[in-house]
């Protein structure tokens, strides 16, 4: 039981660390990484592979359909 709780604790610690890091990294930005807040975001540079970036998803009336 304690080992399972340790696994849970470890997972939560890593998640908290990762999200804190993300917050630090995007702290000086224009909120482009947080799409739920509404402003038109930039394309995310985080990607897999060498394919070129598409246009960002936009909010409001011109949202992707």
């Amino acid at each position: 039981m304690s080992r399972k709780l340790s696994a849970l604790l470890l997972a939560m610690l890593v998640l908290a660390g990762a999200m804190s890091l993300k917050t630090v990294v995007t702290a000086h930005g224009n909120g482009a990484g947080i799409m739920a807040n509404g402003p038109a975001p930039l394309p995310d540079p985080f990607r897999n592979g060498p394919a070129p970036l598409p246009d960002p998803f936009r909010s409001g009336a011109s949202v992707l359909r």
């Binding site: 080992r3 849970l8 990762a18 890091l21 930005g29 540079p45 985080f46 897999n48 060498p50 070129p52």
Partner: protein
């Protein structure tokens, strides 16, 4: 449409991804690092699908954006699984496989829940935004996990050269993207990142292909020799 250089980088990256799989098969490492090779194989397929979308609908089309972001989310999950298999390789002698799998599952579920919590206000196109957010968050989780794994490798005095190179190249890959991400947030109007990001996408398959091609699966680093000091 991307320029000639953009297409060239894209094609080179796809060839390098294929080279990873070919190298692994040739050097009998395909099954040993199955998730990692499946990730690369799927990357090649996704590259082909993205190319098809660009050729058919154009770089600025909604269709390409959907293909890109949805496939990116799936690829990120594959990359996460590949990273977890590297953990299993490093910790295989300690017999904690069951707990590692449990932790990995909890972490993936936690990241998905966190991403959902962030985007739940966005009722319109929530699935699309969720896949984007999940992909983004999983990258940061992967970044942290890679550094934790590197710490474990140092602590456990891991000597398998191929495994070390795979982990280190993954760490550099994640770090490079994190740096680019931060810079893009600081300088959102800069156009100079246009080719930097695709080049980073080529470096990981290049490093992995070299690891599979040049290093034997069981090759180990020479450990420092102990010197017997007479008392």
């Amino acid at each position: 449409m991307p320029g000639t250089l953009g297409y060239a980088i894209w094609i080179v990256g796809s060839i390098l991804e294929l080279a990873v799989v070919v190298s692994a098969i040739t050097k009998h490492s395909f099954r040993r690092y199955l998730c990692l090779n499946l990730y690369m194989l799927f990357s090649v397929i996704v590259s082909a699908a993205r190319f098809q979308a660009v050729a058919q609908y154009g770089l600025h089309s909604k269709q390409y954006a959907y293909v890109y972001y949805y496939s990116d989310a799936v690829l990120t999950i594959f990359l996460y699984l590949a990273l977890i298999t590297l953990y299993l390789h490093v910790f295989d002698e300690i017999k904690v496989e069951k707990y590692l799998r449990l932790t990995a599952l909890l972490l993936l579920a936690g990241t998905a829940l966190f991403s959902y919590a962030v985007v739940q206000q966005s009722s319109h196109k929530m699935l699309t935004v969720f896949s984007y957010e999940l992909s983004q968050n999983l990258y940061f989780v992967g970044l942290v996990l890679t550094y934790v794994l590197w710490g474990a490798i140092l602590k456990l005095r891991e000597t398998r050269t191929q495994l070390i190179q795979l982990v280190l190249s993954l760490g550099i890959y994640f770090s490079a993207f994190a740096a680019t991400y931060a810079l893009r947030n600081m300088y959102p109007d800069s156009r100079s990142f246009g080719y930097v990001v695709p080049v980073f996408g080529c470096l990981l398959p290049l490093a992995w292909a070299c690891a599979f091609w040049r290093l034997a699966p069981d090759a180990r680093m020479a450990t420092a020799r102990l010197v017997a000091v007479p008392r």
